[in-house]
């Protein structure tokens, strides 16, 4: 993993914690390859809505770019990498 990705993921964990008000979590509690939903972080469908709203608000990612794409939401890493790439492609 390059430094830019490492840095992005670290910041993205902090953002995720603040969007979802996971006050009891610290960035190091979120494992890169852990599932976001069900097991792992145990987020639910309303948290997914919250993430979609935040991605639109903070990165300008349109709802239809993410809302039907389950693979983006598989793990923390898949979501973080998608957002990082989207940002690079749309600068």
């Amino acid at each position: 993993m390059d430094d830019a990705t490492l840095k992005f993921r670290q910041e993205f964990k902090q953002r995720l914690i603040s969007w979802l008000q996971l006050e009891e979590k610290k960035p190091e509690d979120i494992k890169d390859d852990e599932a976001l939903f069900g097991t792992g972080l145990s987020l639910d469908s309303l948290d997914a809505v919250e993430i979609v709203i935040a991605l639109k608000r903070e990165y300008g990612i349109p709802q239809n770019a993410v809302d039907q794409k389950r693979e983006i939401f598989a793990t923390f890493a898949s979501l973080s990498d998608f957002v990082q790439k989207y940002q690079q492609d749309h600068q």
Binding site: S45, L46, V49, E50, I53, Q63
Partner: protein, 247 residues
């Protein structure tokens, strides 16, 4: 609230220009809401609804849409799905009846009722839910019927659609309550409207403990309560307005 300059935001009433829907529009306008009312057609009913809303000092917008048509509905509702235009209160009141004994019911009678009463709820309310979740505030009020609670002979199609709305509202209440969106149902009994004017009252009244049929204003009063601040802890409930028809 009432006739002052404060507004309580916007209330959208799907099926809001006739009968119970018109009374809800008038009442919520008096409660301080600006009104967006949908109807299948412009005309005398829509004009009367507009007059009642403006008389209460509120703004009125007529939305022409056929609730059974998903694409047309989404297009008509598009300007109101997010931001400041997003309504505070959404009332689903569109409904038709095509009564017949089940043995004689034809597919058109079944489908027309399901399409308007049930599919219409999906077509017109579902598009708002994402925006409501984002805002974390709002009220959804679904108008069902005593027929949906207890079943009514000659109305298997109508009863099915109105019972389905209760199930839909309860499930939705469980799904989105955590985000501060309240979902409730009002279930009117026999109410004096064009839909009930041909019913044989002499046979119906003995079934109603209050010994009279209800008024549209009495249904609108229940909707007003569920749209207002006094019902903030009422969620996933069916409020029956039926004179005791079902106890």
């Amino acid at each position: 609230m009432g006739l002052d300059n404060r507004t309580a935001g916007t209330a959208l009433i799907i099926g809001g220009c006739k009968g119970i829907g018109q009374a809800i529009a008038a009442r919520l306008a008096r409660d301080g809401f600006n009104i967006i009312a949908s109807s299948r057609q412009a005309g005398r009913d829509a004009e009367e609804t507009e007059r009642l809303v403006r008389q209460a000092g509120r703004e009125f917008t007529l939305l022409l849409l056929e609730v059974g048509d998903r694409e047309a509905s989404k297009k008509a509702l598009q300007p109101y799905l997010e931001g400041d235009a997003l309504p505070e209160v959404i009332v689903y009141n569109a409904g038709i009846a095509r009564d017949n004994l089940f043995a004689f019911m034809d597919p058109e009678q079944w489908q027309a009722v399901i399409r308007t009463n049930l599919d219409g709820f999906f077509n017109t309310v579902q598009p708002f839910v994402f925006g409501l979740l984002a805002r974390k505030r709002g009220r959804i009020i679904v108008i069902s019927s005593a027929s949906g609670q207890a079943g009514q002979a000659g109305q298997v199609n109508y009863s099915a659609s109105k019972a389905a709305l209760i199930g839909a509202a309860k499930a939705l209440a469980r799904e989105i309550g955590r985000k501060g969106i309240l979902v409730n149902v009002v279930a009117p009994g026999v109410i004096s409207t064009a839909m009930t004017e041909s019913l044989p009252l002499e046979r119906i009244l003995p079934l109603i403990p209050l010994n009279r049929i209800g008024t549209v204003q009495e249904v609108a009063g229940a909707v007003s309560f569920l749209a207002g601040p006094d019902s903030a802890y009422i969620h996933g409930q069916v409020l029956a307005v039926n004179g005791g028809l079902i106890i």
